[in-house]
Amino acid sequence: MDVILFLAFAIIAVVCAVNVVVQTHPISSAISLVGVMGSLAVLYLLLGAEFLAAAQVIVYAGAIMVLFVFVIMLLNAGAEVKKGQSNMALFLGGPLLAGLVVLLVWFVQHFFGADVTVRFGSFQGGGPRDVGTALFTRYLLPFEITSILILIAIVGAIVLARKEID
């Protein structure tokens, strides 16, 4: 059952991610990215991260992607136009990226053999209670710094996007 769920949602994630890259229209890319995030939320659940699965759906698929779709609609962004672009980048970059993914997969396989497995339910420490306890004890300082960061981001976004008033 674990294997079926993992394979199903991993395949959805990879197909949607490929779609993000190959689609020429930004809105299609955005919808595919929502698909990637939704299937990743299911994989988080399989890994026992209940809180983060919920946060992934609410924050990423909900808030951030809505922001993206807003901006795409606001700018009326059309399909990408290719002009004067050589295929050199594709010929050089494609094999390099394939090499990167092979290297990374070889690396993780070298360090984690097939005997280290994930079984649903064997890690219980990912609920809101555990995350909250760690967040407000050991990670209190990063948490507070994060709040200042968000404040700076809000002010920065308002300053950048407002109309000039004379």
């Binding site: 991993a10 994630a13 990879v14 991610a17 490929v18 993000v20 890259v21 955005a30 990637v36 995030m37 990743l40 994989l43 988080y44 399989l46 890994l47 991260a49 983060l52 946060a55 992934q56 990423y60 951030i64 922001l67 993206f68 901006v71 795409i72 606001l74 700018l75 990408e80 136009v81 290719k82 672009q85 980048a89 970059g93 990226l97 993914v101 990374l104 997969v105 993780v108 396989q109 984690f112 097939a114 280290v116 497995t117 994930v118 079984r119 890690f123 420490g125 990912g126 555990d130 995350v131 760690a134 967040l135 994060t146 960061l149 968000i150 981001a153 809000i154 920065g156 950048l160 996007a161």
Partner: protein, 102 residues
């Protein structure tokens, strides 16, 4: 059968990260480039949570949580910058935004 080897999760993370890099390098639309960055952040989050499972510690979850928060802040500021660039240049093509080159 019934249990998934942990390197499957890490390999999925590697594949998603590489697709994000591909989108970042090959695409010319500034919004799609930005979405590729989000894809890379998501891939890294999957790695964090897998490592958290491996060592039965909640720390990886918190790192993923902070990545999420920073991604939200980054999206807000980045999209505001995209709006400003579009207002000044009327283009979203990153090849035409090359003031620093000249």
């Amino acid at each position: 059968m019934g249990a998934v080897p942990i390197f499957w999760y890490l390999s999925l993370s590697a594949v998603l990260f590489t697709l994000g890099v591909a989108g970042f390098v090959f695409r010319r639309n500034i919004i799609t480039v930005f979405m590729s960055i989000e894809l890379m952040l998501n891939a890294v989050n999957l790695s964090f949570i897998t490592f958290s499972y491996r060592w039965k510690q909640v720390d990886g979850h918190l790192l993923a949580f902070f990545v999420m928060v920073v991604a939200a802040a980054e999206a807000a500021v980045g999209l505001a910058i995209i709006l400003t660039v579009y207002k000044n240049r009327q283009t979203l093509n990153i090849d035409e935004i090359d003031t620093l080159k000249n």
